[in-house]
């Protein structure tokens, strides 16, 4: 018989670590935010971090540049945009520090290809749209993540959900899940 911890290890990972985030961009307000974030990036995937509320000089440290690289895209006196790119399997802590305080973002590039949540969510599409969404009743590859997401979000709002199975299906996903699965499908090969 299994121990309680063994049985519920998945749940524990959810409770302890929060939900993995992979939205299109994230805004950190250093002055207001005390919440650390956790992000999963796959190899070659990029992610824009919008930093706002900067008070004084912003310093950024990246604990593992072999896993994640960090490039400043733009900045003003109170804001900055950094582009993060997954390079190879590993974890990195990226800390944004100003006069007010520090916000740390924990990033992971997983060994298994594909952002896990996005992949599991996206695989719901494959029964009808083909493995990796490349065929079936209609391929989804070739669309951008925004096109996939907005189409899904629009269907989810439709009141005609008993006349179209996709309108019914779209209602079952949260907004952030739609974003995650769209991001996965837009880059899957």
């Amino acid at each position: 018989m299994k121990s309680f911890i063994t049985r519920f290890k998945w749940l524990l990972s959810v409770l302890l670590l929060g939900v993995a985030v992979n939205s299109f961009a994230l805004t950190l307000n250093i002055g207001a935010s005390t919440t650390d974030t956790r992000i999963t990036l796959q190899r070659a995937q990029t992610f824009d971090m919008n930093v706002s509320g900067v008070n004084g000089t912003l310093s950024v440290t990246n604990s593992n540049a072999s896993a994640i690289t960090l490039t400043k895209i733009s900045s003003t006196t109170t804001t900055a945009v950094y582009r993060l790119t997954g390079i190879s399997t590993g974890v990195s802590n990226i800390a944004f520090k100003d006069k007010t305080g520090t916000v740390t973002t924990y990033l992971k590039v997983p060994l298994v290809q594909g952002t896990l949540d996005g992949r599991q969510l996206a695989s719901n599409c494959f029964q009808c749209h083909g493995t990796n969404a490349t065929g079936g009743v209609g391929k989804l590859t070739g669309m951008t993540r925004y096109e996939i997401y907005y189409k899904l979000a629009e269907m989810a709002k439709s009141s005609e959900y008993t006349s179209n199975i996709m309108k019914a299906h779209a209602r079952g996903f949260t907004d952030s899940q739609m974003q995650m699965l769209a991001a996965y499908i837009s880059q899957v090969r």
Binding site: V14, S66, T89, L111, Q120, S123, V137, R171
Partner: protein, 435 residues
Amino acid sequence: MNRRKFILAAAKAGLALSIPGIPMVSKAAGVNYDVIIVGGGMAGATIAKYLRIWSNYTLKVALIEKDTNYTSNIMSNEVLTGKRTVSSLGYAYTNLINKYGIYRIQATVSQINTASQTITYGATTLSYGALVLATGLEFDLWPGLTNVSQYDTAIPHAWKAGPQTTLLRNQLVAMTAGAGNNVVITIPKAPYRCPPGPYERACVIADWLRLNKPGSKVIVLDENPQVMAEKDNFMNAFSGAYGYTVDYRPGVTITNVSASPKNVTYTRPVGDATETVVVNAAVLNPIPPQRAPKLLSDAGLLNGGKFAPVDPVSFESMMEDNVYIIGDACNAGSIPKAGHIANQEAKTCASAILLNLTGYGETLALSPVLNSACYTPVTSTLATWLSAVYQYNGTSYVMQASHNGGAAIAAGSATTENYSKMTKWFGALMADTFS
């Protein structure tokens, strides 16, 4: 440097991980197969394929299945009406073997030993890193029956597509038309395989009888209190919306099934009393109560129930480590037993196994979503559909239907367009599973 550290170093050096012959597994080192899958139906075939794709073809995966081909249960009701043949529903394991590199073993597993992490068939014992049981179901005897062979020879349940489906088709063709010569279908208490399936069968047979056996009708004896899926659509059909009617009797308790003469005895409360009724059948289709196979029970995976309880986030057994149960044999709460969602259970379980075997499971959060979809013919040209999407509830640890106030959504009406989409859906689903 051990194998796992070597792989991590290789990954950091930017080397591709799909180097042939270098499994990325550490926890499973020294076993015959990283993953052994028992059962090659919808769930088993899907997880075999996706474990290979998602591990960049590094995991060594064996699929053990006794049959040469899989025969789809989905669409098999259309064999009964002559629209399809059993052979057209056959799916070979060729793509899994040649395209995806699965080790296919044609055998019947006789024993699972979770302590030593081994399975046995014939005189062979194999060790595993993770074991996936996608065994499907076993069928119980209805009261009055003495041997499951009665289902094979006299009164086919045809709830696993194959020879019994052909036998039932032949019995329908051979039956004498006319009042009193009826087709009787029994439905066991839920959970059973494919919630809308028995009602779909009643519809397509009734539609076929209307044209081919005038005067004969379908009588449905349902142990459930009401239609278990797409209630409005099926009740509409039963009451004559499509030119046939079905004599539907819910809330019965079946007390005897006789293969010769063919009849079913049931009791049902009527007011304060209980009526006992014997229903004669020209063709008897006794869909039986169902349970996980004895193999799982013997391995201590059922915890006294009829199905194997699993954590619905990973489909890992609640009873034993490194054992996963997907498809109809598992108890994953409200998740239905059906082919489309079994495919999704397989993908979800594949993700969990990959994380567990590669050691990354502890640090990634999982919040899976599982979708169920099916199209349902109600005549030879009209179909409806059913959609349900299940979200994980982290407070109660169960999967819950997440849209429409926790209920599934059914098509508003049966249409020819749905019938056409049904064919495309079926083709796509089987391709995602076997091609």
